[in-house]
């Protein structure tokens, strides 16, 4: 059984990972070679092919850092530094995570409220949706600095502006998913409520809300990833001193490509973690609601 699942599940994953790493190394060698060749010519160094490849993979500021360089950087900055240190990835991740979570929380609540409004108030149904969709066509990179500048002018800074950008990105999938979810009960289930002469409030809590749960969690998975993107983007243009976004920005100022890649890794680990947590939440709710195991 275990060897079976190893073969069927682990093997394909490992194969893909190996292929990606191989391609990455190849790209690193090819991309870093011109600079290294230039350097060697000026320094009048001649080296064998193997030595040359070795050097392309150990430049301090490579165009494409080699996988092992990034791994070492991530490892050092995650485990070997104090978490309060400005160089610690844990510290920066936490800064980004806190505004992600605040924004995700607000975005989810806002999205649910909007969906409830749309489903229950005909005027909102007609008027709100086009605005919501329009809101998402505005490039977030254009909005983020304005929000931060306007808010700092009224002395709101730090976590709140970043969380608001996350909210802006994350309410949308929740609102859209919940509108669909709250409208998902079949006619017979709604008729049943009518035969009991149930109040709209009772119909909402006993029928629409439970029926919308699977939709909510699917949307939340999208929303939590969007929140993270929002938080990182909000850190980019604002001269933020901490966070994964500021780490990316600093890296690009000083051509510290390895740091940038390490920050990217930290971001994707964070995203995977957040989506997994929402997934676990979804499974717990499923179990509470007696969903037939697949």
């Amino acid at each position: 059984m275990t060897t079976d699942s190893l073969k069927t599940r682990a093997l394909p994953v490992l194969t893909v990972v190996a292929a990606i790493i191989a391609a990455w190394y190849l790209a690193a060698v090819l991309m870093n070679a011109p600079f290294q060749r230039d350097l060697d010519r000026r320094g009048d160094v001649t080296s064998t092919t193997m030595e040359f490849i070795g050097k392309t993979l150990s430049q301090p500021k490579p165009i494409v850092p080699a996988p092992h360089q990034v791994v070492v950087n991530v490892f050092e900055n995650t485990f070997l530094r104090k978490v309060t240190s400005n160089r610690s990835l844990v510290y920066h991740s936490w800064v980004t995570l806190s505004s992600t979570l605040a924004g995700f929380g607000m975005g989810t609540v806002l999205g649910i409220l909007i969906a409830v409004g749309i489903v229950h108030v005909k005027a909102l149904d007609r008027s709100l949706m086009p605005w919501i969709i329009a809101s998402q066509t505005v490039p977030i990179l254009a909005i983020a600095p304005m929000v931060v500048v306007v808010l700092s002018a009224i002395n709101v800074s730090g976590l709140i502006p970043k969380a608001l950008i996350s909210t802006y990105l994350s309410f949308f999938p929740v609102a859209v998913g919940m509108v669909k979810g709250l409208r998902s009960p079949e006619l017979m289930h709604l008729d049943l409520m009518r035969t009991y002469s149930a109040s709209p409030w009772q119909t909402f809590w006993k029928l629409r809300m439970p029926a919308a749960m699977p939709f909510l969690f699917t949307s939340m998975k999208v929303a939590v990833a969007a929140s993270l993107v929002g938080a990182i983007v909000a850190e980019l243009p604002t001269g933020a001193v901490a966070g994964i976004g500021s780490k990316l920005l600093a890296g690009s100022y000083y051509s510290q490509t390895i740091d940038m890649w390490a920050a990217l890794i930290a971001g994707s680990v964070l995203a995977a973690l957040l989506v997994t947590i929402v997934g676990i939440g979804s499974r717990l709710v499923d179990r509470r609601m007696g969903v037939k195991p697949a």
Binding site: E186, L192, M193, Y196, Q202, K206, P210, G290
Partner: protein, 263 residues
């Protein structure tokens, strides 16, 4: 019409016309009918004859466009608000996130019964439909027939004297259906409820009913009302007696008459 002092359902010249893109559809026209207390009335007829629509008008799920109808002497809306009836749909319509007992508790929660009373009623109605011990199961863990029994239990859990059943056994196989028909008759005898029952099946209608309403489509109308002469106590093999077959024959004739100038 019978001279029963207060009929449970009384319809006079009842009509319902749906306005559709292809013009008006006369789902019901000129329906005159009385259902007396304690009756078991079956509505039988081909698709589109308005039998389900009639039931939905009684339940205030549709509004009649002409004529008059009273339920327990009130308008259907008042009757619905007074929770005068329990409705059993074609499908069990159980909420999948609730266990069977929670599903039965649903109307009780909505109508504000206390938890202790809820538990007592759940137990009693589960017993009535022979589902004792299945209360903690989720709907998907039960067979189709058991699910439909659970939905009947849900309709019985609160004290409505009128039970409206819209082809409740239509999706079930013959063996299960026979069994449920037998149980339904016992239930009817035990609870003294008035039952309106929509069906496609002639034997089912004849076996269950004290009164059979034969309907025909376009426009949906009543073509015959047959008072059953069968005794209230009905074992399954009553279906082979000449009396039963004669009533079934009359129903079939009625259905054919309603159809004759269509095809």
């Amino acid at each position: 019409m019978t001279s029963s002092p207060s009929p449970v359902v009384s319809a006079r010249k009842l009509g319902l016309t749906f306005q559709t893109g292809d013009g008006p559809v006369h789902a019901l026209s000129d329906v005159d009918l009385e259902v007396a207390k304690g009756d078991f009335v079956s509505f039988i007829g081909p698709s589109g004859c308005g039998k389900t629509t009639f039931l939905r008008v009684v339940a205030d799920l549709e509004k009649n466009t002409s004529g008059e109808i009273t339920v327990n002497g009130m308008t259907p809306e008042e009757a619905r608000k007074a929770r005068a009836y329990g409705y059993v749909f074609q499908a069990p319509a159980l909420y999948p996130w609730r266990t069977i007992e929670k599903n039965i508790a649903l109307p009780l929660e909505i109508m504000g019964h206390a938890p202790a009373e809820r538990a007592e009623r759940i137990e009693r109605t589960l017993d009535l439909v022979n589902l004792s011990g299945f209360g903690k199961k989720y709907p998907w863990q039960l067979s189709g027939g058991m699910q439909q029994r659970a939905s009947i239990a849900r309709a019985l859990a609160f004290d409505a004297d009128l039970l409206l059943m819209d082809e409740p056994f239509g999706a079930l196989d013959e063996i299960v259906r026979d069994h449920l028909n037998e149980q339904l008759l016992k239930l009817w005898a035990a609870t003294q409820k008035t039952i309106c029952f929509v069906t496609h099946s002639i034997p089912e209608a004849v076996y269950l009913s004290t009164k059979i309403v034969v309907m025909s489509p376009r426009p949906g109308r009543v073509t015959d009302v047959i008072e059953s002469t069968l005794p209230r106590e009905r074992p399954l093999d009553i279906r082979e007696t000449p009396e039963f077959l004669e009533i079934a024959h009359r129903v079939r004739e009625g259905l054919r008459a309603g159809h004759s100038y269509e095809e």
